[in-house]
Symmetry: D2
């Protein structure tokens, strides 16, 4: 339930509402918005009587939140959430933020080289896996902390904020020391201890939809992060499992308008995993922009055939340049623009790890 305060309600009136909620044994979460101040009730509140609040001074109404998720819902917060990354990159403000990079960090040269190329092409952030969840225990599992260091070095060199995956709760602190955005992968969408850990970290979180997750389940997974006090969640449509071997997954772009209707959180699309086929990546990236995505996540590799993972779906750098040009035109058709290219932090003379 959400207790909506009248315009101009006083601090005392809000405090009184909070006190009642706490006396009832629940947690109160006051939220000051541009248009209204409201106090959310967190806990199993099916039995709270709205009559307890209606009529209190300064209270406008008591709104039951009908969805199983609460803090992620539009009912709870109507204004879109904007997640801010270093360098002035803002996801959810109407711009189309492009996050690009290789599936995995494979070497210092690889990541530094591709980061520069991506920046030149107009990317706003750099992705790259240091810890890789691999279907087989015998596949390349990532460079791990060494990979994180190369990512940080690439950030120093290019100014691009870093998006990289945290695979388990025990590694969240370490990854958070390097990353600007903590990615939770599709396989881990319902890894609740991990969701709690990234929620506690206060870093922005990129939460990928699970392979067979409904949109409700995706929003409930995000609710775990918000319930820990971290509001900076970016959702990511990356395709769901389908029956047709023509594509690796089925990129369900309808999730974009559905999420936007139900939630205030931004949502981006990953057509690289979503299709798994290089020649489909650019058309589906453009489609995602037209459908209203707040950004794109694109796999680009300097030499896809030699990639240690996901080579068949990685773009060549020149294909990425073409994609950026076309994405910008489609974005403009809807009165939007691509996200900014962050400035290089020239003041830092040397990279952190060299």
């Amino acid at each position: 339930m959400l207790i909506v305060m009248k315009h101009g309600a006083s601090h005392e009136q809000i405090a009184a509402v909070v006190k009642v909620i706490e006396e009832l044994g629940y947690e109160a979460r006051p939220m000051g918005g541009r248009n209204r101040t409201a106090v959310g009730i967190v806990g199993n509140d099916g039995t709270v009587d709205p009559g307890r609040f209606v009529g209190m001074p300064g209270v406008s109404e008591a709104v039951p939140v009908s969805k199983p998720y609460k803090q992620v819902s539009r009912e709870w917060k109507d204004e879109p959430t904007v997640v801010e990354l270093p360098g002035g990159v803002r996801i959810g403000d109407g711009s189309v933020v492009v996050i690009a990079g290789p599936c995995a960090v494979e070497s210092r040269d690889q990541i530094l080289g591709i980061a520069r190329a991506l920046r030149d092409a107009g990317a706003s952030a750099l992705r790259g896996g240091a810890y890789k969840p691999r279907t087989s225990p015998y596949s390349f599992q990532g460079l791990q902390e060494e990979g994180l260091e190369y990512l940080a070095e690439a950030r120093e060199a290019t100014g691009l904020p870093i998006v990289t995956e945290a695979l388990e709760p025990g590694l969240v602190d370490l990854v958070a020391q390097y990353a600007d955005v903590l990615q939770v992968g599709a396989r881990n969408m319902q890894n609740y201890p991990l969701l709690r850990a990234v929620g506690a970290s206060r870093k922005p979180v990129l939460l990928k939809r699970g392979m067979s997750a409904t949109i409700s389940e995706l929003l409930l997974a995000a609710e775990y992060v918000l319930a820990e006090g971290n509001p900076n969640v970016i959702l990511c449509e990356r395709g769901v499992r389908g029956f047709d071997p023509a594509s690796r997954n089925v990129l369900d772009l309808t999730s974009i308008p559905v999420v936007k209707e139900r939630s205030h959180l931004p949502i981006i699309a990953d057509p690289s995993h979503g299709t798994g086929v290089r020649s489909s990546v650019t058309p589906m990236a453009l489609a995602a922009v037209a459908a209203g995505a707040d950004g794109l996540m694109i796999e680009v590799h300097p030499d896809p055939p030699s990639a240690r993972s996901d080579g068949v779906q990685s773009l060549y750098p020149d294909q990425f340049v073409e994609l950026m040009g076309r994405a910008e035109v489609v974005a403009r058709a809807e009165g939007r623009s691509l996200g900014p290219v962050p400035p290089v932090k020239a003041q830092r003379a040397a990279p952190v790890h060299s």
Copy 2:
């Protein structure tokens, strides 16, 4: 197998190739293209020896067609097929052709009224079901031949060519007397007698992807139509069955680039059935355009809440006007334009059936 002739091969040389194919017990299908003339071998040709053709005068090469489908494949015919409708509407020529209308023809007034509104909004063709395949035998099954007559009347009044469904082989001739395009619905994608019947009719065919059909199966269904000698097939992505109740189906837009890579046939998208939710129709229509669709099929009803079928996914007329405006801008971003609005045939003083 495809026997590709040299540039400038003579009629006699082509005839000689045809003769050899027929002597081997197969059917020969000569095809003159802009860039090459080729002769296809139809039949179970796994055992044909290419050496039988290579070296014949005028023969450039013998190309095995590796896919289970043949005449629909890019290997067989590289140039895109353009399906021409009355009024100068061309599907597959790079334009974005919008076919719109109600799910079902419900009355003379309904279809005439909406047809005029759609024409004013820029639609290129009119859809409307006269025979409706309904999950329940107790649901409205369509106005049947009366509905066909109203559609013809709407065409007279607006110039819009008619797209309507043929439900069974025995009705194809009747429906073809009224329709400009024969629609084969998703439930009938593998109704082979029906596919043969519409193939024999020589009318353009709009073939909808089945609810759980792979793209290969869709192309093989189209092959049935082409195998009857009818090359005018328009494919239609209309969503596949998924697990998430958030949408009625999963609109699999990746099918668009995949079809374009494998086949020369045009493909359009139906975001109305593909999402089943009114608020998702416009975003997904724009996404389809950005993904490269040759057209859109949109359900519009003068009063959706009173529609006898599919009301929840039908746009209001003013929503359709907005969709058209936005679709045009997205099309232009990629250097394309919306299809033309056909002229009203003013010379015909009276409607055919009045």
Copy 3:
């Protein structure tokens, strides 16, 4: 709605109920059951007031039928439907009726030989396709009427009733001249003109679940047949489309208890199409029996590697003998038995069509 009469209601009382229904503009369907007589109201009866019937002489109660399907529902008819085939074979009476045979009739020798082997192994009916719905127009499409004649000959020789597919409405009469059970294949589950045609034929109908049909949709498809006045429908679970290439389809055996709860119609399982893998057919056949299936449909071929279709999922004859032995033991564990082997009609000296 269903008007349930009191025990011992008179003909006059029933007739009075029928008259009221007809006066309201609906169709009345009186049904005498072992435990009760009831009169069903067919038509869009959402608005019929039960009060119109309650209180009439002989009326016990007016039961709203809550499901979209009506005549197939348990609410409408509680006693299980038993479909009777020639030779004393009864599907739905508690026995496990095994229908076996090749995917397609390929030759007179093939079908006569395998029919004798199946009879010796204890089968109750013979399956075999004369008209084959094939994904590719270039694949073997069946021997057609010649195949029907061979099937009839096999029936003469073995006494086994014939189950074979009708592919389109226009062929139903022809197929019904030969067949004891008209099969409607998975691709045609929502081919409504075909469902109406087999409904009108009065032959028993074997209705296969569509590749992505829900159980509600399966029951609604059966409702089309019952709505034409043909109550003899056997449902068949044959697997739904899944994502795992380990099997051709996902045999959803849970449909068996679910159907039995919702409907009075018998349901059998087809583990040959349901798995698509020979080594899984017998385990899943046993599982279907244990789950409560009223029968099995099994593909058996004298020489699977040379089969013209579905060879990889066809059992060798000796594998079928083993399956029958094990199925019988599992059936007995639940107090059931395999269906009878029908007697050869020795009196008919010559086959019908020779």
Copy 4:
């Protein structure tokens, strides 16, 4: 690759093979089986030349392992793995081991009461969640360590070994102090750090199939556990995501024969989660036994309507008694029997944690 030794190969000959493998930079894993001794090569061995081993004294042959999984495959180890639990319970030895209990441990009385009832009904092990992975952060998350203590107490009282879930790597050690079998839930099937942690623990592991996991992916997840040196993995089919709301999941029993063909690991079925509907649990349990499952996992609750999770799919205790009777008869039909009821360890006077 697997180096198979001749019958009677000496220790020295085996040691020589191990040495060569290690010199090549791989890990050698010698395995003494009943029928053969073999040495597996673990690592990315695509480039190992079999000729390096063929011809060495005592070597019979060098077998390439063609599947992406290795140690779980039949090629690697042909004899079925039997996982032994305390009390003489052996999963994989041909018996049908029934693991039963509530979804979650809710109180000391609840778990002690139900454990006694289950033991009386013939169960071989007790399940119950102390840590619950819940879709919503606001749902009951389990009694956690308190729940583990009650489980241990129930084991003391009944002799039933305990199966309970470990949700994250950091809790594996704690859970392993109480549990006899560590369960990895469907949501965590690809939680690789967790798989490694349970692999390192040496406790038997019950690995549930993920909601949209292929059988190959399930086997690769098991490979993670075996790769850590823990061979005691029990696979569990618990249903995959489907499109039909008639059941919560699609229990894919075909996975049982497929797993048995590909792997030596035992596989059980969970018809409670697999159907999500109480009335389907018993039919599908019997079906699983008939399909060859090595055991069943059944949710039973003393009072399902008051259960804090999964009440609608939990059996009432008397329904469980009936299930056990019928499962035993079906097992016997195939020459099998239910697993043993372990003896109560009467000597331990007091529970471990009281």
